[in-house]
Amino acid sequence: MEVASLFFEDCEKLINNMAIALEQKQGVDFKQIDECIHQLKGSSSSIGAMRVKNACIAFRSFSGAQNREGCLRCLQQLSHEYSLLKNKLQTLFRVSVASRCLYVCLVIFCRENEHAEPFPDVLVFQLEQQIVAAGGSIPRVH
């Protein structure tokens, strides 16, 4: 699913940028970090990655306070969440294609991710496409 891969790519880039920015010896550019976080928050929420998004929000408050240590901690947390998410999504895709059953995949995914909101529609569409392409069927069950 290109959306997800795009997201991963983007996310990794942002996380790296933030890591570099936080490593600066001379004055950390919190403004830039803030922008990165904002962007990450937007993408992660668009893709339905709640935990990543929440981590971003927490991160934001630290960056607003210009608290470098806090930011570093948050960044670590963010990376952690991101890896989790990445694994889950990859698993999901594999499972969805293999099982060719969207519903099951979604359930698994949601349970694992503790989604509090509906799975992003766009991802659903993509998953559907993939499943159908793989020869599966989309059960209209909710």
Binding site: L6, G42, S45
Partner: protein
Amino acid sequence: MSISSSTSTWKAGDTISDQFPAGLRVLVVDDDPTCLMILEKMLIACLYKVTKCNRAETALSKLRENKNGYDIVLSDVHMPDMDGFKLLEHIGLEMDLPVIMMSADDGKQVVMKGVTHGACDYLIKPVRIEALKNIWQHVVRKRKNEWKEFEQSGSVEEGDRQPKQSDDADYSSSANEGNWKGSKRRKDEEEETDERDDTSTLKKPRVVWSVELHQQFVAAVNQLGIDKAVPKKILELMNVPGLTRENVASHLQKYRLYLRRLSGVSQHQSNLSTIISAQDPTFGSLSSLSGLDLQTLAATGQLPAQSLARLQAAGLGRATAKSGIPITLVDQRNIFSFENPKLRFGEGQQQHMTNKQQVNLLHGIPTTMEPKQLVSLRHAAQSVGNMNMQVPPHGAQSSQNNPLLMQMGQQQQQSRGQMLVDSTINHAPRLSSSMGQPILSNGMATNVSSRNGIPENIRAPGYSQTPSMLNFPMNHASELPGNCFPLGSTPGVSNLTSKGAFQEDVNSEIKGSGGFMPSYDVFNDLNQHKPQSWELQNVGIAFDTSQNSNSLQGNLDLTQSALGQQGFSSGQMNGHNRSAAVASKAMFSTDDVKELGSAQNVNQHLNNLLVDNSIRVKSERVCDTSPANIFPDHFGQDDLMSALLKQQESVASSENEFDFDGYSMNNIPV
């Protein structure tokens, strides 16, 4: 017949209209590729036609090259290359498309900002598909509103677009209009879906509010008075074929919003102030005119509240406030203001000639722009001042400078800054002359004329002498002691020129000063309320300040010199304050952020000033600005500013004593 054409169009659009809102052409702008991709997919799922851009510039160019290519725009708020709100304004002014903002940021302030900037809607990311399914309602709503405007305005054109009845109805008496409207409305409703779609598809070839068009618009608005400007009259004044009342009405609405925002925002935006100050030169010229306007406005009670906005607008190139000013001037000014933005927009966004651009410029234009502005301002000043001067918009500052300088006198040509100054100077004098006449009533006439005379005189010698800057100052210097008001201004000019001599060193300064010039102008404007000694003092101050800057003396020196100048000019305190203000302003221009605050204050102050002052100030400014231009960038602006500000506050008459000696002591060998 429009009906047939519309029907035929309808036929073409029938397929679309049947499926509406499917097929809606959406332009998505977002710097985050993930979001962009997601949105695109969702929009496709809604059966819309999607075009995506990840940069605002790309989006704007796409919109411009294909005016009718899109029905709605979705834009992110936070983008690296251009602020989402700026983009929103641009689109609104130029293409009048519904724009929806998006952001993960759901803070109330941001959302409010979106709304005030004219966004049709504000979506919080993650954007849900249901929200996207509903965006077509904004398209419909906008069309409907425009149509209503059209109906009411009864514009002539749009025969093909609107039901022909409107045309006939337009010509009919208002008595019938109601009936016609009613029937039209009914008909509209019946055909609404179809027609709407059709109109949207056929829709109005979007009116591009080019710079010229906008200038005309602003001129018309100024002529009528911002409060009395009704679309119908504006349309008549503009007399542009093919322009409908509805176009004018919607543009007017945006313009008003923009002004309101400016006046509310100007104070808070240092950049804005800086820009304004930078624009002061233009302003100055405009101010002189606006001086009159201000009076008028003040008389009408409009001034105080709007003066700032006006001035700003003027700075922007919109002489909204100037109702009394001849349209030519206004146009010229507008042109300049437009030019300024042009110059400013280093990006070469020539297209951004709209007011918004100007505004944008204000919002964040670096001081560097100022010089450009100055250049443009000068042009503006020249044209404005001269009325006769047909200052061709000079894209190249240098080129601009040259022509301007020529006018002013060769002396100033050397440095760009000089030119800027010159233009400003010229500008001011010109303005004074032009303004002088109207201002006569204010009593400034004499001054003005004298002022005008002086600049001319000064220039004459300058011209005769040779483009050397030094010469110029020399002439002026000698004249200065005269203390006649005009002389005062000259000294300013001469200072400039002398500074020109220092060009080598000063070149950079001049540029900075160029920036100053605007501030001076602004400052002058401010000083306007401080009546009386108008130019000299300002000039003196400007002069001093510039001198100081050149010499890189302490800020205090500058202030003092400014003060001295005032004393010189004629012991006119006002001038003094003004100069200080100017100086501080000058400083502002160069030092955007810090000075901005003061400049803003000054500006505001200025706004309150009466027209008289404005006029005077302008002329003075011109001179002042010259010196200001000379101010070196590295001039301890902050210090200077504070010094100036202090001076400002404590307008001491004692300072009057300064005479040009003060200025001469600046290290500027004359």
